[in-house]
Symmetry: C2
């Protein structure tokens, strides 16, 4: 087995073409086995095996520097740069992260997880090299799907300004997570069909040199191409045509499903565990499809992650032109929603908490200054969500809650969620965002009669004394737990409050609490800095009411255990109850 002998790029360079082709096959086997047991990004890695071998054969990493876009296609790179054990041996599977990671290896230059950043980051490496008078090859590897993102297109445009080496490898498998969306993909298709010969060429129009490799899964072809551009003194695009999921039948056939996978049966491709119970994505799609039937102005928008809204292929087909995928282009998604709302439509953009970060200026300028009635739904804004440092859902509250005009809502149950969504779609006054609760779907079957147009009105759901607990969104249930723990331990019957609104405070209700309460507790599923609880602390700043804010510390967590993080931040009902008792006894 060649793979077992590869301890770094220098070992790749010892192989001949046939041996490298065999190595590719071994790598695919290892990837397949690991994926079936461990899960992970599948399709992107399978397509990049040969290109990664060729890159390490031709270039001299880490002096030459490779930056992978999104970096969920770095498994082959990790295998060839001293980390093969994490792909060969089950007991080492968790030795590596799913993304490029400078803490693992000097062959990784950035921790990357969001798309469309590689070219601009690589421009920086190239400029740094240039300023210091060094000679290095700087290589950005970017998938076709990531090209539609604003930062990537900015980078393509700016790259031509660099009077230095920069090699942009466009890994074209004709797929994003789902199918690609955008006019540039017609040009990529034309380039593939003409084997790079078409005169009209996006990359050349951006001022870049360009070469095309038709067999992007052929080691020899790739080596030839990379040798051609090595040490180039100006930016050049190497457009390689690859096959997503290459080498595993089910993945070649259903590329969308096999972009990322949970552990599966190797022979059939079927997942080992079936998802259990209700899911907010499905609930959302069902609600919206029903709404769309009754109202042709309702439109769902995704930026390349249709299933976060529950819109699988069949549901997208059902929605027809009432479903829009803008591709990886979050900024455009927000502007589109604002424009649709300004012209009589009812747009709903669904997005992961971690990606809503890509649209601060658009939410503020395109949407909120204009006060257009678009709806944003943020998913997985929770400590119980994705736990890679690049995909945390812990920052959407400080990012969004401090933008004027935005109404950011935090439902605690399925019923509240749907009532808010329905209210948001039917009102014309405000841009509204809804933070879907993290964790399992809670449903109590109770009809929600609250009028959400009366902004910032909290609700006392349990009336008590001495201590008031304000539990935001999916931490509302923690609030209930704390209240009952407190009752058990101290006989204090606490007031419990569902605030509903993240973006504003209910001054009247908070003022009234002063009469019979000494302590107010807030709880939120996100970092505390700039969040919801601090607004309550500010409100009570000049009073004798004491405030304890519960949430997470401002830090970049990585591959954490949620229960440990909860404990470390004193977020269990026992810890909180203990704090309350201590404060009462002071």
């Amino acid at each position: 087995m060649y793979l077992e002998t590869i301890n770094g790029p220098e070992d790749v360079k010892k192989l001949n073409i046939d041996q490298m082709t065999e190595l590719a096959s071994e790598m695919r086997q290892a990837l397949l086995k690991r994926a079936s047991i461990h899960g992970g990004h599948f399709g992107p890695n399978f397509g990049m095996v040969e290109a990664t071998i060729a890159l390490h054969y031709v270039f001299d990493s880490p002096k030459d520097k490779i930056v992978y876009d999104v970096s969920h296609q770095t498994y082959p790179h990790k295998m060839l740069t001293g980390r093969k054990d994490a792909y060969l041996y089950e007991e080492h599977y968790d030795d590596v992260s799913g993304y490029s990671n400078p803490q693992e290896s000097s062959h990784d230059h950035f921790t990357v997880g969001h798309t469309s950043t590689s070219i601009s980051l690589a421009c920086g490496l190239a400029k740094g090299c240039d300023l210091n008078g060094k000679k290095e090859n700087i290589i950005a590897v970017i998938g076709d799907g990531s090209l539609s993102g604003g930062e990537a297109l900015e980078g393509l445009d700016f790259a031509a300004e660099l009077e230095s080496n920069l090699i942009i490898v466009v890994n074209d498998n004709d797929m994003s997570i789902a199918e690609n969306h955008g006019g540039l993909y017609e040009n990529l298709k034309l380039l593939r069909e003409t084997k790079g010969q078409a005169e009209c060429n996006l990359f050349r129009a951006m001022g870049l040199d360009y070469i095309y490799v038709d067999e992007g899964n052929n080691v020899k072809e790739l080596i030839n191409a990379f040798e051609q551009v090595k040490d180039s003194s100006r930016p050049v695009v190497v457009h390689i045509r690859t096959q997503k999921g290459k080498g595993y039948g089910p993945a070649e056939k259903d590329k969308e499903t096999w972009h990322y996978n949970a552990p599966f049966n190797l022979e059939t491709g079927e997942a080992l565990a079936q998802p259990q119970g209700d899911d907010y994505s499905d609930i959302t799609a069902d609600y919206l499809l029903d709404k769309m039937k009754k109202d042709p102005s309702v439109v769902a928008i995704t930026s390349a992650t249709p299933t976060v809204l529950g819109f699988t292929k069949d549901k997208r087909d059902k929605a027809g032109k009432q479903f829009v995928d803008v591709g990886i282009a979050e900024e455009t998604a927000v502007a589109l929603a604002s424009g649709i709302a300004a012209n009589g439509g009812k747009p709903v953009w669904g997005v992961y908490s971690t990606f809503v970060q890509r649209t601060y200026d658009q939410i503020s300028q395109d949407l909120c200054i204009n006060n257009n009635a678009a709806t944003i739904i943020t998913f997985w804004g929770t400590v119980y969500g994705m736990n890679d440092v690049t995909h945390l859902g812990l920052y959407d509250i400080p990012m969004m809650a401090n933008i004027p005009n935005l109404v950011y809502l935090a439902p605690t149950t399925k019923e509240e969620y749907l009532a808010m969504l329905d209210w948001s779609l039917e009102q014309q006054e405000h841009p509204v965002a809804i933070r879907v609760p993290g964790g399992p779907v809670l449903s109590n079957g109770q009809a929600v009669t609250k009028d959400f147009s009366k902004l910032d009105k909290y609700e006392i759901t349990q009336s008590g004394k001495t201590v008031a607990v304000i539990g935001l969104g999916n931490f509302y249930s923690l609030g209930l737990d704390v209240a009952s723990e407190l009752q058990k331990q101290t006989d204090i019957h606490a007031t419990v409050i569902n605030p509903y609104y993240i973006t504003g405070i209910d001054k009247e209700l908070l003022e009234n609490l002063k009469k019979e309460h000494d302590i107010v507790i807030t709880m939120e599923d996100g970092i505390l800095d700039g969040g919801f609880g601090e607004k309550i602390a500010r409100f009570y700043g000049d009073s004798s009411v004491k405030v304890l804010n519960y949430g997470l510390k401002k830090e970049f967590l990585d591959r954490y255990n949620a229960d440990e993080v909860i404990k470390k931040n004193r977020l269990t009902k026992e810890q909180i109850t203990e704090d309350i008792k201590n404060l009462l006894n002071r």
Copy 2:
């Protein structure tokens, strides 16, 4: 005079070509006179006079909808849509804002001020129209300079997906505020040189139809072109070549200076008032130029606003390759800075507070997760800065202060600013941002010996009792004023604190304050929500120390008077002193 008879687009339609050409000349005269007395955006409007006439002749606004990018070129549009008085008569000059504004007219569809948003917003209008089965022409007008921004490029790419009318007018005057930067401008040049005939065409590569108008200041040519694309059922680009500042000699010659102007002498073009005294932009450029001479790895970065960093043309020439203008591409600026820092360089990106908003995800992901030692300088983050609703500098603290790993500093004097900048450039540990104080430059000549690497260490600059005043950045001097007012009125000698750090709290110092202080006051020049003061309120939440946070209410202010806003937010020393006394007497 034709202009006096124009009360709306219907009056433009009554004119023949010769009359419209005369109208254009009258409009230019009015613009010139107004600019000389009132100031405003000059070059962009002068180039767009004929195109605006032609648009209103051919299309039926407001049923047909025109969206202007940045919208600082909407003066001609406003003149033709019922707002001519604001350009003809001095007493009405302030009746209109400098940007498109739906509150002024049904011919304006969005309040716009940041660049690169028009195409995506127009896509939304087109989609809204389509969903409702309406027939409208939707027109986005975008300058060549704005095309390099991520959102614009995303929009160009996505537009091709629309199966509906969308007309993108590219107003190509071969200039941004300064010269353009990026490879796509080579393609625009090629298209101009070949009169739109070149096969390699950025817009076609994005999947769009395309026509070219060589004489973009010729009403007849423009009318022909617009008639050709009117009612088109698919997206099309109309690329028009215009002349920035056309019709005024000094502006035609020096396009950068005449992008925006203060009141000036009509004959000579000289400004009526000369800027007085020191300026943080000049100070920055002088410091950096000196540093660059000694250290080749220092590099200044701008995203199309070089003078915010003080880099006028002569200083850019002096800096040579140590100055990089990425064009309007803020996202790329941040990624570039991160990449440069990762490869041995010392990058400094200078940006207006209002535009740093465009880079939340890049600051978080590209820069801070990677903890690269790049420096960001934010300018005009203050209530005393730009006062258009789209250009407020009041949100950078909540946006940036809650991102992990970032060290955001608030100097109070020129000496502190330069000491922080120097420290930031020489350290390798942290991404650092510095918030340049708003208002006039304060200098006390005192050497700064503080070690900024000891993070979050505040400084007691005046030791007192009972009341502690924490004045952040340029509100530190307000803190001093409040302390002396309080001494005068109550004999309380307050403690005064310069916190330096926006991103963290000095727990030890704050803890110590508890001993001899009953009240802690915070002051910041920005909105309170998600800001600095709330962190202090949270810290003292469980104690008997009372906290009063001073800053601005979360709202979108527009064309405000700073003194009035200060009063309304109780930010005068008298108001604050009154509040303190009231709280002491409670």
